[in-house]
């Protein structure tokens, strides 16, 4: 019912656009002189870390969650092309070119069209896009303030919730900011999985915010995501060497997720040029269940699984002089998983829990990160970051040096 409503509303909106364009061709299109605006992000890094696999006991890894390769590696070298298509539509494509293990792949990160002509505060977006849930979900990694994503994003949505579908947004005609959004998506991307109709994903979000004074502003958001799936692949705890790759599946599952996010920004007189400060925090809770099937070589097990998992991070970034910033971040996760009807062949419940990623430790995973970055202009950035991850089983240090360069069209200053 909900899905149909969003789709019908979107269609109704599209057909109701006025066919009127004032003085066609007058004026130059700002931000669009290259028509389309083309920009290229270059990202590379050097990483010093103990263990190059991201293990978060209690969480089945999925999506893009992971750690960078040891030593030198390429990040997301990303091509972004965008333009107003005409007076009614805007289009954007983001395609990272990845280079890992001596292999080059091109990914379609985002490719969507969006309406410009609906009016009444409404916008419809269609295609593949980062969901509007949370604060950081829709922000590309190269625009993050740290070299890696908060743990809660890696653990619960596989980096970003990024799916194909339709998004409907509405900004209320009020003096204070209220933005409501709804999405219907395939639901096949992590933390969802394959489903027969390929439309089981549903997201809702609301954002509000404003200015506290000329120097300070804030934004608060709440979001909800749910999907049902027939099967979902998860990485689990992989072993290298001769052992056969684990087959770790969740069948007939359901995921519900809710989150709250908050951002506060301060700059003296609102002039962020010299010094500024930014605080952000996000909290997510995810309930999921399903029938787990695990196979690794001759070992196999099945069980019914119910998980209640939460995670949050908070971070502060301070620009103490032009071009220079320092930041501190704290991450924490908690998993409360219940396994019933366990039955195993050559494997006991203890081992199954560890290998499938569903077993949590007595100690919750947490991480401290500190970074300093230098950005002489809008277009270049060098960053040094140190993090210490204690996943409950073991501690891992990571030191990363990163560059991010932006060529071409001027990027957008989003809040």
């Amino acid at each position: 019912m909900f899905r149909t409503t969003v789709l019908l509303l979107s269609l109704a909106g599209l057909s109701a656009m006025p066919g009127f364009l004032y003085a066609q061709g007058m004026g130059k299109i700002a931000g669009n002189e290259f028509n389309p605006a083309v920009s290229l992000i270059l990202e590379g890094r050097y990483t010093d870390l103990d263990n190059s696999e991201l293990e978060l006991p209690g969480f089945q890894p999925g999506g893009e969650a992971g750690l960078p390769e040891k030593g030198f590696s390429m990040g997301h070298n990303e091509l972004v092309i965008s333009a107003n298509v005409d007076d009614k539509f805007y289009g954007q494509l983001t395609a990272p070119i990845l280079y890992e293990n001596n292999e080059t792949t091109i990914e379609l990160e985002e490719a969507f069209m969006e309406t410009l002509g609906l009016g009444h505060g409404a916008t419809v977006r269609g295609g593949k896009f980062y969901s509007g849930i949370g604060y950081l979900n829709a922000v590309h990694d190269h625009a993050h303030d740290f070299a890696d994503r908060p743990l809660v994003y890696d653990a619960l949505v596989g980096g970003h919730l990024n799916d194909t579908g339709v998004q409907l947004r509405w900004v209320a005609p009020t003096a204070w900011y209220l933005n409501l959004g709804a999405e219907v998506t395939t639901g096949s991307e992590f933390p969802g999985g394959e489903n027969e109709d390929n439309n089981n994903g549903m997201a809702l979000f609301a954002k509000t915010g404003g200015d506290i004074s000329v120097s300070a502003s804030w934004q608060l958001g709440v979001s909800y995501y749910s999907t049902e799936f027939a099967s979902r692949e998860a990485g689990g705890h992989a072993h290298g060497g001769e052992t056969a790759e684990a087959d770790n599946e969740l069948l007939d599952g359901e995921v519900d997720m809710a989150g709250i996010d908050f951002v506060y920004k301060w700059a003296p007189n609102g002039n962020s040029r010299q010094t500024n400060f930014k605080f952000q925090a996000e909290y997510f809770v995810r309930d999921e269940d399903g029938h787990s099937e695990f196979t690794e070589g001759s070992d196999s097990a099945t069980a019914d699984y119910t998980g209640e998992q939460t995670g949050f991070y908070m971070q502060g970034v301070y620009q103490f002089m032009p071009a220079w910033r320092v930041g501190l971040r704290y991450d924490r996760l908690e998993a409360d998983n219940t396994i019933t009807n366990f039955s195993g062949t050559n494997i006991d419940q203890e081992e199954y829990l560890e290998e499938s990623g569903l077993g949590s430790e007595a100690k919750d995973p947490e991480r401290y990160s500190v970074m300093v970055d230098y950005s002489p202009s809008h277009f270049s950035l060098l960053r040094l970051q140190y993090s210490e991850l204690d996943n409950g089983r073991e501690k891992n240090d990571m030191l990363m040096l990163q560059y991010i360069m932006s060529l071409g069209a001027h990027g957008a200053h989003r809040y």
Binding site: F2, P18, L21, Y22, A23, Q24, M26, G27, K28, I29, A30, G31, N32, E33, D87, L116, G117, L118, G119, G121, A122, T123, R169, W170, V171, A172, P173, T174, A175, W176, Y177, L178, N179, L180, L204, K207, G209, G210, D211, V214, S217, W218, Q219, S226, K265, N269, G270, N271, S272, R273, Q274, P322, P376, S377, H378, H410, A412, H413, R414, Y415
Partner: protein, 306 residues
């Protein structure tokens, strides 16, 4: 299913309660900078409601599409901005996020001042190594009174298009403003005669239109490249320049960091003049007339001191 229905009822309730409170008579204007807010006030008076997205103490190039601005853009009938890429980092994003058809590019509600007049310092070829530079030309047009008057006329036409029932009202306001402005230009030019041929060191290209109008020569720029803060090496070079040709003033805007300018002023003994740059840039610059009056007073005060 129950849980979903409950979740859905929140946005639906918000929608209904908001729709009930609509009905605004005034033309709602979002100006990107205080000078265009001031101009819209002059021309629209009590038929318009004007908000400026930035203050005189903010660099209009370094603004984000923050929540309060999206809310204002959502309800605006008209956005009046500088253009020429000055707001390129946030205006296109703000327009897209607003969901407001009236202010999209090409619509009557989208007004860029720099498109109404010829610009100085247009470039054939632009490279980012040149700094924060605008291929379309220097965007800081509001400090040339003649260009400002042309922009005022174009903005009046736009107001008449948007709010047809008050056409005569806007025309009368413009006629009155134009008379007063032209009289003021005569007075300013009479006073500014003494400034002709003086030499200035500037910070950023914010002053090109003002100085061209007043006939003041630019000796050098404190920024090694536009938009980049002064470096010690560059300042040392500037000090040499001032020894050869002593400047009559070092000009900075009240929103700019004055560290480099202070240093140079101390070493070269050239007077440092902090100008309001736009409306609200100091206590005396409260509208367009007092902005120009105060700017000229501050410049003339330095000449008279000598």
């Amino acid at each position: 299913m129950n849980k979903r229905n409950r979740l859905l009822s929140v946005p639906l309730f918000a929608l209904l309660s908001v729709m009930a409170g609509q009905g605004v008579a005034k033309v709602d204007i979002l100006a990107c900078e205080p000078e265009w807010a001031a101009l819209a006030e002059e021309l629209g008076r009590d038929r318009v409601s004007v908000v400026s997205a930035t203050t005189a103490y903010q660099d209009p190039h370094h603004i984000e599409a923050r929540p309060s601005l999206i809310a204002r853009a959502r309800n605006a009938d008209l956005v009046t901005c500088t253009g020429a890429e000055l707001e390129v980092g946030w205006l296109p994003l703000l327009l897209r996020q607003s969901g407001n058809t009236r202010i999209q590019q090409g619509k009557p509600g989208y007004f860029l001042a720099s498109e109404q007049v010829p610009l100085l310092e247009t470039l054939e070829k632009v490279d980012r190594s040149m700094g924060d530079i605008h291929a379309a030309g220097n965007p800081h047009v509001h400090l040339d009174p003649y260009r400002l008057l042309d922009i005022a006329e174009a903005l009046t036409q736009r107001l008449k298009t948007i709010d047809e029932s008050n056409r005569q009202y806007y025309q009368d306001n413009f006629d009155r403003f134009a008379d007063q402005w032209q009289a003021a230009i005569k007075e300013w030019e009479r006073k500014a005669e003494e400034l002709r041929g003086k030499k200035a060191i500037v910070q950023h290209r914010s002053w090109s239109y003002l100085l061209t109008w007043l006939g003041i020569d630019v000796l050098a720029d404190l920024e090694p490249r536009p938009g980049l803060p002064p470096t010690s090496g560059h300042l040392a070079k500037l000090l040499e320049t001032t020894e050869k040709t002593p400047p009559d003033f070092i000009l900075i805007a009240s929103y700019q960091n004055d560290r480099g300018a202070q240093w140079l002023a101390r070493r070269s003994e050239a007077p440092l003049v902090s100008l309001p740059y736009t409306v609200g840039g100091n206590e005396r610059a409260q509208d367009l007339f007092s902005l120009y009056n105060n700017t000229l007073e501050l410049l003339l005060a330095e000449i008279e001191d000598d």
